[in-house]
Amino acid sequence: MPDKKEEIEKEQDEEQIYTFIEGETIDLTPTNSNHIELYAKWSNSEEIRKYARNEMPRTIEDIKKRFEQRGGDGPKEHIGFEIWHKEDKKLIGLGGLNHIHWVNGTANLFMQIGEKDYWSHGIGTEAAKIIVDYGFKELNLHKIFAGVLSKNVGSWTCAEKVGFIQEATLKDEVYVDGEYIDVKKYYILKENWLHKNK
């Protein structure tokens, strides 16, 4: 029988991961208040926040408050997940659905791969596919949309790979790095998704 003390130490060493959806290279888990510092780091990193439109500095307390407020009454309008790399056992980003409107059955897909080493490996695409599938098959949504900055080639290539269709270009919608740039609006309907994945 293993030493009880040893066991406890081992448990504290190894963090419990609550897998919610299992993918091939990644798993999605609930957000975790123990990781607020990492979320804050991503939120403030210049390279990461540039296309995510985080223009303001965020303190740990700001991020904490944002997470606490989401636990209010009523149906959830924001469902966020952590993205874990399975093989590396590493938390690499966040993604999910926000602005959920339960009457219209619409939601916005958001995603942030905070660990740069994991960019351009198709991880965003895999995560997006999992979240879209969850939105349609588990949440019974009707339409999922995403807004991508025209300069953020990685993101819109990913959106198109998932099956998103461009429905509009918002001219000079955001101001990034000293210039106005367009935002490409993408959507996918439940019927598109189910048809594509038949």
Binding site: G72, D73, G74, P75, E77, H101, W102, V103, N104, N140
Partner: protein, 197 residues
């Protein structure tokens, strides 16, 4: 929209109609009517078939009226407002909306017995169904009715709800076990019914 302001608290409807019918409207709950709601909830004749078996205090109901900052709710009620008599006569609303399943369970009570058996519940239910299907985009509405509550299931059948299940000896009312009837209507059934009418 017509705004009604009357001196007596019980008669006040200052918010305006939310859903307007011929004889009654569904309006948001009024905090000033809390005494009235508490009276209805405790009134022997009214609570008997609504299965309000425990006394309800004013504080119990106050929590329904706490200010909420929620865009989409899953549990809310309206006041049934009598247009001609300019007073609230009951309440109706959603006990629970399951947004993923697009299903809502409705409840209704006419708290003033002198307004019973005049089709007010039917009219209020029709307003609720129109709202549920046309505005809220729900797919299925259920109503839970205990078998001695004849008035309620006559009303349910009149507006097009169908008996879907009977849970036998499911509730204990006035010394005996009675059945619980689950009525339902789907959006397409409701559209079909209102086409022919």
């Amino acid at each position: 929209m017509e705004w009604i302001r009357l001196p007596s608290n019980e008669k006040q409807n200052t918010i305006g109609e939310f859903l307007e019918g011929d004889r009654v409207s569904l309006v948001p709950l009024h905090k000033e009517h809390l005494d009235l709601y508490t009276k209805w909830r405790n009134r022997p004749k009214v609570r008997r078939l609504a299965r309000s078996n425990l006394p309800t205090t004013k504080e119990d109901l106050e929590k329904f009226l706490e200010p909420k900052n929620i865009r989409i709710m899953d549990n809310f009620y309206f006041e049934i407002f009598h247009k001609k008599d300019e007073k609230p006569i009951g309440d109706a609303g959603f006990n629970k909306i399951e947004w993923i399943d697009k299903r809502g369970d409705i409840g209704l009570a006419i708290g003033e017995p002198e307004y019973w058996r005049q089709g007010y519940a039917t009219e209020a239910t029709e307003l609720l169904l129109r709202y549920a299907f046309n505005e809220l985009n729900l797919n299925k509405i259920t109503a839970t009715i205990y078998s001695p509550n004849i008035g309620s299931y006559i009303c349910a059948e009149k507006v097009g709800l169908k008996l879907e299940a009977r849970l036998e000896k499911d509730a204990y009312i006035e010394g005996k076990y009675v059945d619980n009837l689950i009525y339902r209507i789907f959006k397409d059934e409701w559209i079909e019914k209102n086409k022919t009418n």
